[in-house]
Symmetry: D2
Subunit: 346 residues, 4 copies
């Protein structure tokens, strides 16, 4: 089969690889029909994720069709159409039993990381019963690719951890795909205001279309001052960090009202300064989270019932065999006005 | 001043009464600008609420303007426009400190019940600081009359107690004003389905316009069978009882899925049968609640930010001096297609 | 092997049965070392549980040693000492993913009910990875037999569902083994008062030794009046029903304070009257629950750390081969002052 | 009357001041019977709290007797014995309605800070109905002085925010009075292990007596390594910071298990480094809180019912008129083995 293979920082190729086979009774082999590229894949390509070895097939998102099954898999049968979760969950370790699949002792984020991933014609999925989800009849497959990672990430790490509530005021720092996924799913809870903060006017324009009630270009305006104006000097109830650098995390600390919650989504490479000298008395909560994908069934229902239009996140369509070009497009997201790129295995 | 006065079951008149005065340092006297009639007022008129004595001015909803203030009221000043809560809260008893204002040891539901109410040109409001809310500039007063009782009742007793969640399935039994208030506020949480059940096609038509995804006329169809069909045989996650008779409460028990919640709003005059012989093992929750109006500030924000269009509940406008006719209209709600009647003190 | 076999209402025998074998890759066969008898087994013997067929081996509690394993079981190896949960959980259906193992689509309560159980020398445990727990070194095996059913039942259905909190007042109606298990585990949360209500003085004496702060013999005293006296007329914050008849459930309704919670544990054969004519306005919560055994790991830690002395519940020791006598003792619990009987497979 | 008066950094005296009088209808004047000194008072004496002006009477803890009352106070009458909360709560601003009394718009921490405090023969208490609590008959007054500040602080900021649960493992960094208050109240929730970390062996000895299951002297041992050993390499479920310097907050980050909570109590003067480069993916929660004293009624019940022996925190007794000496003792806590010093107004 063909697959997108990592060969060290900056090097990748679309090349022939052996088709995966069942290794454990809990495995499935899935023929990929649609996949996509994540910001994390770009980090891997830069060499920022040293656990990814030369020869690894990348990708942790996608939908497909069950091709082969191990003998203890019971939720699926050959030919079933499935959503692949970016998080592999064994369903039987202590963490899985608590719903913290991200820390599964036999899984977690391994696809396109510690084992071969989904940017390929076929992929082996360990612990298939707990790591795949049925595609309901009549649901748009492309909409569901967004369920592999970006929607549960925006929802769990940003919206749920941030305790978004009816009538509340939310600031989302970072209007990239993840920030926008938070923006879309925050609206499940009818907050009064969602303020989107980003230095790129084009992204802010998208945020407005996606439901932001206020946008702030923090390369041109003082975001703290403007948020204080919009909130009678109080700050926001929820601040969602969707960038992953110290400056944006520290901005969240300046935006948050007493009693509020800062929900970090960003993947950070450095520590940040925590201003306990003021925050110690502000009764705030800060959360971090690697997505657990525990809300995938809930999110699937919101897509089926049209409460969530996840296709809005898709800006480009490319053949899977053209994935090298797709990386180019996605890697220049601002210039290409790219959010998510759907790769179809035709 | 003029007021609507109860004179025993079936008897009421619009008559002259003394204008209320400040009795306690925590009181306010409010000039009513708009008020409305509640289903509870009809119960009182039938003689179902024996605590209401001859001579009592009815009414526990409305908006108005501060006319006089006791010397320890600090949240308001003369001339402030205010929303009157149906629940009087002292803010300093054990129940109030827990947010259970309905059981306030110095208040609770007393307006138009144990003390004179709001269907009058003026009303005395005890514990004004905790029982009134400022009307924000630019907000429609009529929309805010719905905040006195019906919206917090539908929201707190039905939606919050019922734990409505994104992607869930909700049944609301009873499509009268309270059921519709639950329907409107349930949508804050993006449930996948809201199934409205009522024997009146006109009310169900209204429910559809208000956002119900399914309606069932239970005088013509078997509601249990139809709900089972709609939910793959499982039943609903939340069943909201918005009628107040044994039959509808018992229907909720047949609709509820394992793990689900039955939230009672209805004012019951009789006991109901609880089918513990099946439900003991179904991991369900049943809640009851007299509204606390603790969510009034939250609901006000959802109205201000256009997440909630509470004016939908208003079907009729009448002068306050024509309140006797308004009772007639509201008392024949089905025939008159009446939900809430706004009474304006001109 | 030998096993206790049900032969229709009133008939059972200790007889030879084939030793169980692995049927599915997720199965384990466990050699029983210690087991016990549950009140539910007595119900089965009376013929109250019609799903139990002639020839069924009874029992759903016990500890043992892994004898054989299916090829997809990974949490255990042959020779491991294990606790058997009364609830079989597949770990991969919708209910299991929510932690509602009681309603597992591939398990739930099946041992000694729909498949052969633990009152035998060997038992087959389906979905072993999720239905067994390791016995930590140095822990008393008899103490752990209480983790199969009675402790999680008292804790989950009574204490957790009842929201027992520091400083609160709790009433437990029924001082049998399950009520006592609630009493023991309620003390995890430091309630101010635990009032035990039962018609048997001996059981109340035991309750006092187990930590009850007040006991009421409701065959001699008016329990409602006495509870009102003890609570300044308010009633209790939590009422736990641990009997399973209409009278005790209705008693709970009379004991509960506004804002309180009635947590039902009892297995009911009949419906009860729910006094909505008063309770509709009391802001109460009623819960039902078949035990999920989702707290088994937590309870195990409390036993290991000596926060819970579960051996208190054991009153008798009998050889497994004498199980017919043990049923006699347990079936006359009041006369024999029996709580739990440990059966040892020697 | 006599009072302890602040005269700038390092200067204080026990001197004559005018007896306070009622200024608002919501005020009470309380004759102090017992008071104490807080670590915060030492900070003020060092000049670390610039809002405290020359001439201010210090102190925010104590019990006493109602001497005078404003005309809108209804919860108390002259002669009532009361506990004074360190947090003044108006009960009617947005923050108070949410139970966030610490941020009361008309109160918060003002006693001995922005208005005159309790280290005096008399004190004026604003918003008396919401800021005082009745002393139940038969309760030890000294035990209740601990309810003014130290117990709710340890409990709310440490134990409740830290989500201590049965069977969990807790580390408390700092074994001073506040850390010990957390230790005492953490035991309400039956955690399996409470590991106390401090550089002073004497304080650790006290912690053992108060219920710590493990103690670590982090001036002699590597606390991170030892905690990892004690927790199978996982870390603790809850880490409570009870010191207030960057090093101890950073230690908490190294102790916390995935999914765990760091609850900050310490009053910090500097920012700390937050290691998002590792913690972003560890699904942790960090909380800060200025005590709300919203749990005072709950804690009072635990003292009355002997679930909490708060007198353990008292090491010294001094006459109020000897308060200058008491400051000396408390200021040399390590040398004097001092926890809380009771000052009695005789």
């Amino acid at each position: 089969m063909k697959a997108l293979v990592f060969h060290g920082a900056g090097k990748k190729s679309w090349e022939e690889k052996p088709k995966p086979v069942i290794q454990q009774p809990t495995d499935a082999v899935v023929r990929i029909t649609k996949t996509t590229i994540c910001g994390t894949d770009l980090h891997i390509m830069k060499g920022d994720v040293p656990e990814v070895v030369d020869g690894r097939i990348l990708g942790h998102e996608g939908v497909g069709v069950i091709e082969e099954l191990g003998n203890s898999v019971t939720n699926f049968k050959k030919g079933d159409r499935v959503i692949i979760s970016c998080i592999t969950s064994c369903g039987k370790c202590d963490y899985c039993k608590k719903g913290m699949y991200s820390h599964c002792e036999n899984g977690g984020w391994i696809l396109g990381h510690l084992i071969d991933g989904t940017q390929a014609e076929y992929v082996r999925i360990p612990h298939a019963d707990n790591s795949l989800y049925h595609i309901p009849d009549g649901t748009d497959e492309e909409a569901l690719v967004m369920l592999s990672d970006i929607l549960p990430t925006g929802f769990e790490c940003g919206v749920l951890n941030g305790k978004v509530q009816p009538g509340n005021t939310v600031a989302i720092v970072g209007s990239g795909p993840i920030g926008l996924a938070s923006l879309l799913t925050a609206q499940f809870y009818a907050p009064a205001e969602i303020i989107m903060i980003d230095p790129d006017d084009n992204r802010l324009e998208t945020a407005k279309k996606f439901g932001a009630t206020q946008v702030i270009n923090n390369s041109k305006e003082n975001a703290v001052e403007k948020v204080k104006q919009l909130t009678n000097g109080k700050g926001v109830d929820t601040a969602i960090e969707a960038v992953g650098i110290p400056a944006t995390f520290e901005l969240c600390q300046l935006l948050i009202a007493p009693g509020g919650t800062i929900a970090n989504i960003g993947v950070h490479g450095k520590s940040a300064e925590l201003h306990l000298e003021t925050l110690w008395a502000h009764n705030i909560t800060i959360t971090t989270r690697l997505v657990d994908t525990v809300t995938t069934p809930m999110l699937l229902k919101t897509i089926q019932s049209k409460k969530l239009d996840s296709k809005k996140l898709i800006t480009h369509h490319v053949k899977l065999s053209d994935i090298i070009n797709a990386y180019e497009t996605f890697g220049n997201a601002a210039r290409e006005k790219a959010l998510k790129v759907i790769l179809t295995n035709e």
